[in-house]
């Protein structure tokens, strides 16, 4: 995995380099916009982490330039600005995800993984998902475990769908709120946990092998051990 980090905060980029290194990725660092764009245009990266405000060339300008030249590498924008309109602006410029500084590395990690696993554009969208003996059929809107049908509420279905799309990856609570509930907000209580335990009761309760797991300090993961 090749990762490009364009970030002018030396402390943060050193930290990111270390963390991505531990994930087993090759990390290139750029501390200004011009160098960053040069690297991004000339190398095939799997994912890029771009700070929004950079000396030389603005982060959003880099992304616009890359997208205009047909470069579709997933980009995660880092920003000190937490406003929703800034977020919308960043995504409109061609960013794929947006993370506000300071962030927990587990959040960044989960989002990077999600970005890289995204189906490349042009592929037929998947309509059927499998994790161990758990199946989800989008067309029939059906969920089965070991062949047994499981009745889910619409939101539970959507939640499971998102988890299955990202099977084997950590999914954070914020990611679930943004993608399953489609609201960008900060719950005071861990409401998501309660939804997860409900879903868990439906898909895992009567089976030996638990599929929906809690990743401490990070989020959840659906996987067959």
């Amino acid at each position: 995995m090749r990762v490009l980090v364009i970030e002018d905060d030396a402390q943060l980029s050193a930290y990111l380099a270390k963390a991505f290194g531990e994930m087993g990725a090759n990390v290139d660092l750029a501390d200004n916009g011009r160098d960053g764009l040069f690297l991004a245009a000339g190398n095939p990266y799997d994912v890029m982490v771009v700070d929004r405000m950079l000396p030389g060339l603005d982060g959003l300008a880099i992304i616009r330039t890359l997208r205009a030249s047909g470069n579709a590498t997933p980009v995660l924008i880092l920003s000190a600005l937490g406003e929703v309109d800034h977020r919308v602006e960043g995504l409109r410029a061609g960013g794929d995800d947006y993370l506000v500084k300071p962030f927990a590395f587990s959040e960044l990690h989960a989002r990077i993984e999600a970005l890289m696993r995204r189906a490349p554009p042009g592929d037929a969208p998947a309509t059927h998902f499998n994790v161990a003996d758990l199946e989800l059929d989008l067309l029939k809107r059906e969920v089965r475990r070991a062949g047994q049908p499981i009745a889910l509420q619409p939101r539970e279905f959507k939640l499971l769908e998102y988890l299955m799309r990202h099977a084997g990856q950590v999914v954070t609570r914020t990611m679930l709120l943004e993608n399953v509930w489609d609201y960008h907000f900060d719950p005071q209580t861990n409401v998501i946990d309660v939804h997860i335990s409900r879903l868990r009761a439906k898909i895992d309760k009567d089976f030996d092998q638990p599929l929906l797991q809690t990743v401490r300090g990070a989020g959840y993961m659906l996987r067959a051990d």
Partner: protein, 474 residues
Amino acid sequence: MATLAPALRRLHLSSRFILTSSTFRLALLYMLLVGVSVAILLGFIYWSTAGYMARQTDATIGAEIQGLAEQYRRRGLAGLSAVIAERIARDPEGASIYLLADPSGHPIIGNLDSWPPVTPDAGGWVRFRARQAQGEGVSIEHETRAKVFRLRGDLRLLVGRDVRELAAIRHLILDAITWGLAITVGLALLGGWLMGAGIVRRLDVVNQVSREIMQGDLSRRVPSTGTGDDFDQLAENLNRMLERIEALMLSIRQVSDNIAHDLRTPLTRLRNRLELLQGAELSDEASAEVEVAIADADELLSAFNALLRIARIEAGSRRAAFAEVDPITLLQDVAELYEPLAAESLQRISVDSTSALCRLHADRDLLFQAVANLVDNAIKHSPSGGQIQLRADCTQTRVELSVTDEGPGIPPELRDKVLQRFFRIDESRAAPGHGLGLSLVQAVAQLHGAELHLEDAGPGLRVRFCLPRVAASA
């Protein structure tokens, strides 16, 4: 029509205000004082004019009777009759009235037809209408004031004066006095009203500004007229006080925001270090400790983030994210998200609305956050098995979102305080949360130009969030 209605309402309000204002009451008192003073003054004028003339008449009559009595004593009945006849002859207009009668009341001599049917008072004074024959079948009536005197031999002598003219003059003076008094009272009332209204208008401005400030717009100032009068001085002092309060509040807010901002980065770094530690080979015990430490860091971060979020919303730079929002769907989404949490305490969340179609111009995420915070509070404070009601009421001009719980409610004196940052009713601060939830709701309300009302739902708390509605064409 649209501009007339508020003007009328203002007028109505201000006229009611004038009637209840102490300034106007003072003006009324002032008018009363002026009125009474002028009445006393005019009374004195009346006494010293009309009264003087009456006294003069009485004195003349008294002197004449003394004179006639003297004549009778010296010259007897014949002499008296001669004098009376002479005096009647000297006064063809009959302005002077004379009548000498025998003890049974039959006239002996005089210019009255008969003895007047009136009883004299203690001083012998009478007042009557005298009828005088004036040639063939013609008689005239005189308004007469007269004195009755008993002569020796039980003869009765009456001497009077026609006071018709006096009465007319007195009438004239009384008329003038009455009108004068009425005009004085009218002018004093008008002056008092104008003076009161002027003062009230200026106080009204101060009150209006104070109300706006209490509603949270601390940037408002009391306007001054520039004349440097007492009201301008009041306005200046108030403004200086407000500036000081605003500066103090701003510095408190900035300190807390700066702390949140500056501590957020090292705190995140700390959290990330703990996270890296978690990945390392650790004993179960150490790993559990690290997990608790991460949870603590997360709690701190969430408080800091909430604080900064409020600060940014209050800065009011977020209107760019405004779009059309369906409040009913939004309430249903909040209810759906929180329903499992409520179900854990056997609570139920219901969503009602008055009309199916309703649109708002709002920041969807922030509005969701505000309602979510309210529902979160409602769940925390409602008893097990309680009902939490979400409502959307749409009218032509506004949309009212409300969250009602069955908890203990908030005492009226604390309703303003709970909107402050970090304020918590529970003084032990033992319950989870950081006391920022309602502050954030308040900030969101302000950003949307909405009014936030905390009310007693008997039992429970109802929070109403009243937003101006987007026009149908927009």
